[in-house]
Symmetry: D2
Subunit: 140 residues, 4 copies
């Protein structure tokens, strides 16, 4: 499905709708196949031992699913997460950025479903997987 | 990770541990990248309108995650499903076999995690996605 | 929220929309607090060792969430499950009926969310828990 | 199951293992039936409009499941979340603390399963539900 809100427009849109996380995330790639989104390694999100926390991994998966959905439907700040299931599989590497590889599996009238794999930059095996459902505003 | 229980040995093993579903499933492909498993279209699993039911989709995802796990650890009939999250996204096509594309995301000491996409044969868009955790017997 | 489709009308409605599972389930209780639904112990749903299978547990949770939702919105055969997460926690007792205790957590414009605990009859500890989302047809 | 790490010992233990969230959470009640845990309303966790964010809700559910588990097995900082499924059902009320009502559904050799309902203080209907699995260190 076609991208209607490309990377260059998505970044300022995110800063506008989520000013409280400005500077926390970056978009490496956004095309019809996949979004690659980055959580910058930053002390605020670390557990003792220096790894990224569970809530920070959830945040990245959630914002990635939002970006994937918005990229197809355009500016709809009102879309809300209704469900997330997440499996934490490995310890993230200390001091590394976290990367989300997100794919849109469904875009329906009322719901989108996105699949996300999370990686510590430079590691082959995923640290987590998540699937997220967004509820979309009616009559778009 | 290496396949220790290949397709030729997996099929009789399944018939042995799950005699009640004998003939219900087939293995199209089993290698280190992916398992492709098939639920034969069959009246028992149909809803009115001829589509595969939710429980039949769950069954296929569950047995696919079991096969993927067993293919790496060998015959361990005692592994049990501890968690499944499943998103039903599209209506399966009537009269078509259902195919599971399953990938092992993690094989740990105590748990395996498998990701599954379900397709009606001949359709490009998945009808469902699932992730399943199996608890593995100790001291393998 | 008020029950608009009580137990006496729900049972024939289920037989009408799901004829393929006629006789498989019964309703013990249906009121504003809780639905108690029963899967009759029956050889078809058993694994070796005589316990209820995972797919049979999924089926009971799924139909219970459907009944809880329909009891509030009335006859809407078109509601569909969009998500289920299920934790299998204990082995069901052999030869016992399986009971679902289901509670409606949300009934919105587009979605319902139901929480289900599954018990082997006569056991105190739950064998499984599930949460299910149904997508509801528009403009009810 | 008996509480071996009561409220008075849990609070300093949490400060010790999660110093980065010190002051963010409080325990209202901890007994064999239920844990009630509180996320103090605080600008850091708010979205535009003043409501608690999804990641903050996830954090509260996650720490509540950890506390419920630790309260039965004692000080085991190494337990890790392996799975979470969460349904976001209503918008939290602006400016209110968020309360988690958490119940331990299973404590096994290798895993615990906890069910959590999240409420905006003073509201009857839950804003979210979550279930979380913790993997427990071997040979306790």
């Amino acid at each position: 499905m076609q991208i209607v809100l490309p990377k260059e427009e998505m970044e300022p849109f995110l800063d506008e709708v989520f000013p409280q996380v400005k500077g926390m995330f970056g978009i490496d790639r956004l095309d019809e196949d996949m979004l690659v989104m980055r959580l910058f390694a930053d002390d605020r999100h670390l557990r003792p031992g220096g790894t990224v926390s569970g809530p920070a991994m959830f945040s990245l998966a959630d914002v990635a699913a939002y970006v994937v959905t918005m990229s197809r439907i355009g500016r709809e700040a009102l879309a809300v997460t209704t469900n997330c299931s997440i499996d934490f599989m490995r310890k993230p590497k200390s001091g590394r950025d976290l990367l989300a590889h997100a794919r849109l599996l469904k875009l329906g009238r009322a719901l989108s479903v996105t699949d996300v794999l999370l990686f510590s930059e430079g590691m082959d095996a995923p640290v987590a997987r998540a699937s997220l459902t967004y509820s979309l505003p009616p009559k778009r």
